[in-house]
């Protein structure tokens, strides 16, 4: 089995327009959540989110390109561009034939769907733009990233709701570890901050109207965000041979299904995923110093996740740190796991464990070290990133210092 390392990263979220800006915001414990701004916002009860402000598509793409790029594709392309540039990777002809792209998304081109539903249903138009389908399809982002960077190997999209990115990165990890390819671009992207995207979530009544405070006893729900993060995953010897800067090593991945409830989390499924990832990484629980939690800020998730961590990690649960960066960038649904991998890399590489901000009152049901409000300097040898999706689908990754 080949070893797999991360040699490039790129991101755009409400916290910043690059991986470095995101890392800086996480270090400072800055909140990217604020008033939402899009058509019909006055008809929503939920009016806050981690929206990317001051974003001008025409500053990054030509008019011709924009006729084909939904917002979720634009975010993925920007993050991928930064990841490839920062990796210093040159895509040779031989490499191009095997390198591919696996991206997570849940809603795909939701903004395109919404705009065009408005045109045909609300404005009663009988004609839509010819590129509606290629813009809205869930694989549009992965396909455009593959085209822009000439990556002709295995390329596809994974949609497992809030675990999409972790499942996607797990697939990329397996492809390289299994020797099928030496380089993959992977991560995820989401752009659900539009009237329909929020209205649908409102219906579930799990959204907070003001502040996302994971693990805090007075938490009152999740808050959505938008954006993308993309990484260059590379076979270790290939990275070493070209003198690449290695950000971290991916050592374990596991996925499970609760097979129980379509929305309620299940401790057993989460425990099996975390234990599975540790086993795959051949690491004892004691090696893990930081967990980037799924930590949505809902009553059900945070309580269940903390109980699951206790069960999976035993005594180590009282020694490790666990934080939810969703308190800062919001829940980026299908892209969230990728954005949260930035936090794991920050902990492993820079020794900075990002905080769970907006934490006010300790909750006896979440009695772990949740790194409240202020980032902490610490030496972390291995980190885990959790994603527990609606549908009961769980995906956990384990990373180690390079």
């Amino acid at each position: 089995m080949r070893r797999v390392v991360i040699t490039g990263q790129g991101a755009i979220t409400a916290l910043g327009a690059s991986a470095a800006e995101n890392a800086e915001a996480m270090r400072e414990g800055r909140c990217g959540i604020g008033p939402l701004d899009f058509p019909d916002i006055e008809r929503l009860a939920i009016a806050v989110g981690g929206q990317i402000r001051g974003y001008r598509p025409e500053a990054h793409f030509t008019r011709q390109e924009l006729t084909l790029y939904d917002r979720f594709t634009q975010f993925a392309l920007l993050a991928a561009r930064e990841a490839v540039e920062s990796s210093g990777l040159a895509v040779t002809e031989a490499l191009a034939e095997q390198a591919g792209v696996v991206l997570g998304t849940s809603g795909g081109g939701l903004q395109t769907q919404e705009e065009n539903y408005r045109l045909v249903f609300e404005e009663r138009k009988n004609r839509v733009h010819p590129f509606v389908v290629p813009r809205l399809m869930n694989n549009a982002a992965a396909s455009h990233v593959s085209m822009v960077h000439n990556l002709q190997g295995p390329t596809f999209t994974v949609a497992t709701a809030c675990a999409s990115s972790n499942h996607a990165m797990g697939q990329a990890f397996h492809l390289i570890r299994g020797g099928l390819t030496r380089v993959m671009l992977t991560g995820g992207s989401e752009s659900m901050l539009c009237f329909g995207g929020i209205k649908a979530w409102e219906g579930l009544r799990v959204m907070s109207r003001d502040v996302c405070r994971p693990f805090s006893a007075n938490r009152n729900g999740m808050i959505q965000g938008e954006g993308a993060a993309v990484f260059v995953f590379e076979e270790y010897e290939h990275a070493r041979a070209r003198g690449a800067d290695i950000l971290a090593e991916i050592v374990g991945f596991a996925m499970t299904s609760d097979a129980s409830d379509i929305v309620m989390p299940n401790k057993k499924g989460a425990v099996r995923a975390m234990r599975g990832a540790l086993h795959d990484a051949r690491l004892p629980a004691e090696a893990v110093g930081y967990i980037n939690a799924h930590g949505t800020g809902t009553a059900a998730n945070d309580r269940t996740e903390c109980a699951a961590v206790r069960e999976a990690f035993g005594a180590q649960a009282d020694r490790l740190m666990i934080s939810s960066t969703k308190s800062m960038h919001g829940h980026v649904i299908g892209g969230t796991g990728a954005i949260e991998l930035l936090a794991c890399i920050l902990a492993l590489r820079d020794g900075v464990v990002p905080p769970t901000i907006n934490h006010e009152i300790a909750d006896p049901d979440c009695d772990l070290d949740v790194v409240p409000n202020v980032a902490r300097e610490a030496r972390v040898e291995a980190a885990m990133s959790n994603a527990f999706a609606f549908g009961g689908l769980n995906a956990c990754l384990v990373l180690r210092v390079a």
Partner: protein
């Protein structure tokens, strides 16, 4: 009028619980009815649609919502209040 609201609420809860409305008593809890959290969210939606009201209910903190869901009777009373506010 008040009686109508109560009957309608009971009908909605009975439908969610797959019970005959005659078998639903005001002192029953949601647990007695076998309505789980997802069923409750559906029932709240049906109530909002039936009466054209906004029910202040957050599934994260049901106990802290202004909307008392402890029994069938308390739900009916809360809905009556919201309907009265509307008119």
């Amino acid at each position: 009028m008040a009686e109508d609201v109560r009957d309608k609420v009971i009908r909605i809860l009975a439908e969610q619980a797959v019970l005959d409305p005659a078998d639903v008593r005001p002192d029953m809890t949601l647990e007695d009815l076998g309505i789980d959290s997802l069923g409750l969210v559906e029932a709240v939606f049906a109530i909002e649609e039936a009466f054209d009201i906004q029910v202040p209910f957050n599934a994260n903190a049901p106990a802290e919502s202004a909307f008392d869901i402890s029994t069938v009777g308390s739900i009916a009373r809360a809905v009556e209040g919201l309907v009265a506010e509307r008119t």
